[in-house]
């Protein structure tokens, strides 16, 4: 069989290079159209929840973009458009809760925030009867507890990760990896109970910000180990070899070549771990105890913390004054975590290896 025969024998594949395309405005038009249809159906059927309106619109959007494309452009293009539409719908489904949560918290919390709110504690305020009082003591407590937890967890986590990536071989490394994985899954309540029984009951220390930090450190450590491990693995082996070939010992290679190369990612990982523990309520509730007054000494006596404060205002004060303060504290907490994330990103960008000419 000659080559010409083979081509001629191919089943009637279209050899045209051009094909009908939907106009560029079509996706936008379909979007607008399906939202209109969704709203109309929702209004006519008397559906209460706007969520249902949105879901109907999304469904209509998917079906409409597929059929429109299938009739004009053909099946293959239609599948492509369908996949694209699905990705967009999924993206919006993911973003909507996030945006609405932020928006709602800002809306509810902004009214509560004032200079007084940020600079006063709840000492001498009868929370149920007046809108006065503030979160100064909670901010102090959260910052100190998180800072202490980070000071404990970050070095241990970092060194563990260095061990696992640079030195770890055989059974010990496997065991460490396994326990880090197990630790990742420890519920925060259990971490709190553990410290409560070990530190406060068995060793007899009193409630303090520090005992809360210990529990937070337990929660933070596996996250730091995991993220640092991934970052260290990303450092190319060639750099280690280049350093060894210069007669640099292994420990110095790790300290001066490997860690600086990965420092951007490591910082981001640590900051994300910090953000994670900042919002932990359960261990703080058990170990820090919650105080109405300013206690800036994390080693002695009960402190306050933002998540715990929010919970107390909501469940114990439990009226409009409490709700308002809870929203205000929630907004401050979100802003705090977001600020940490931004700092982490800034550091990552600033420290990451540059290729500029």
């Amino acid at each position: 069989m000659t080559a010409i025969d083979t081509v001629a024998a191919a089943p009637q594949l279209s050899r045209r290079l051009t094909a009908a395309r939907l106009p560029r405005w079509a996706p936008a038009a379909i979007t607008v159209g399906s939202i209109a249809v969704g709203c109309a159906v929702g209004a006519v059927a008397g559906l209460e929840s706007h969520l249902q309106w949105g879901l109907i619109s999304a469904l209509v959007f998917l079906v409409a973009s597929y059929t429109a494309s299938a009739t004009v452009e053909g099946r293959r293009q239609a599948k492509d458009r369908f996949a694209t539409s699905l990705v967009w719908v999924a993206f919006i489904c993911a973003v909507v809760p996030l945006v609405s949560l932020t928006f709602y918290t800002v809306q509810q919390g902004l009214g509560a925030i004032s200079p007084e709110f940020l600079s006063h504690s709840m000492k001498g305020v009868v929370g149920t009867l007046s809108p006065d009082g503030g979160i100064y003591h909670a901010i102090i407590g959260t910052i100190e507890q998180v800072l202490l937890a980070t000071l404990i967890a970050a070095p241990i986590g970092l060194l563990t990760a260095v061990y696992l990536v640079e030195y770890g071989r055989g059974r010990l490394a496997k065991a460490v990896t396994f326990f880090v994985d197990v630790m990742t899954g420890i519920p925060s309540v259990v971490a709190g109970l553990f410290i409560l029984s070990l530190w406060n009951i068995l060793l007899g220390f009193e409630y303090s910000g520090f005992s809360g930090s210990l529990a937070l450190a337990i929660l933070m450590m596996p996250v730091v180990v995991r993220s640092t491990e991934e970052m260290l693995k990303l450092v190319p082996n060639e750099l280690r070899e280049a350093s060894y070939a210069l007669g640099v010992p292994r420990w110095k290679t790790i300290l001066r070549i490997v860690l600086p190369t990965a420092i951007g990612g490591i910082t981001t990982g640590v900051m994300l771990a910090v953000a994670r523990i900042t919002g932990e309520t359960a261990p703080v509730m058990m170990l820090v105890f919650g105080a109405d007054f300013i206690n800036s000494d994390p080693f002695n006596g009960p402190q306050q913390s933002l998540p715990l404060y929010i919970w107390q205002q909501y469940s114990q004060v439990n009226n409009e004054f409490g709700y308002s303060r809870a929203w205000g504290a929630a907004l401050v907490l979100i802003a705090f975590v977001m600020g940490l994330n931004l700092i982490a990103r800034g550091i990552a960008r600033w420290r990451s290896p540059k290729g500029g000419r």
Partner: protein, 258 residues
Amino acid sequence: MAKRIDVSGLSAYYGSTRAIEDISMTIEPRSVTAFIGPSGCGKSTFLRTLNRMHEVIPGARVEGKVMLDDENLYGANVDPVAVRRSVGMVFQRPNPFPTMSIYDNVVAGLKLAGVKKKSVLDGVVEKSLQGANLWNEVKDRLNKPGAGLSGGQQQRLCIARAIAVEPEVLLMDEPCSALDPISTLAIEDLIGELKSQFTIVIVTHNMQQAARVSDRTAFFNLAGVGQPGKLIELDDTQRIFSNPSVQATEDYISGRFG
């Protein structure tokens, strides 16, 4: 500076696999010795045994002797770190340290060994970069990141970094295989200049390159897939390329291999 290497009865293993078998050769000081041979014949492995980089890979070990003048690199109490200070290495892919500037890259070896004096470091930077034919191109941007240079410049930066610690021997593992012909030419010229000070060993897949830069050439081959690589012959480059004593060498360099 520039020492003779005397290898006798050297075998290298990765775990239980033997990568090279019973190699003995002498590498003359102040000359360029090229290793040629098909992929997988153990040239790079052998090169890496000459500064104990081989054992960086988990499970890798070596049997035999490598004498650097009168010291056995594999003798008892020999510190691999010290070995690598006197036997430097340049790798296949340019690998400047991405967090460091050009300046810091050049003096990385000295700085990490504890040399701090600015005047000493400044001198070394200029001398090494000039030695690597890179000084004129980068002297105005020594504080820019080394990763911003072109591939050929990066490789010369790596050579500058390797010669900055003043080793006795310089090993080069296919230093030009990631570079264009012009950068390759620059590196080859550089090798010609460096051989007045260092003992140079270069692994290359490019036979013309071996013929151009080296004084002596070693041909490695392996009996088959999974078999350890062996040294077939080592002779003056001119002889290897005109009148080799082993048939396999002639087959390989004339393209009749296989």
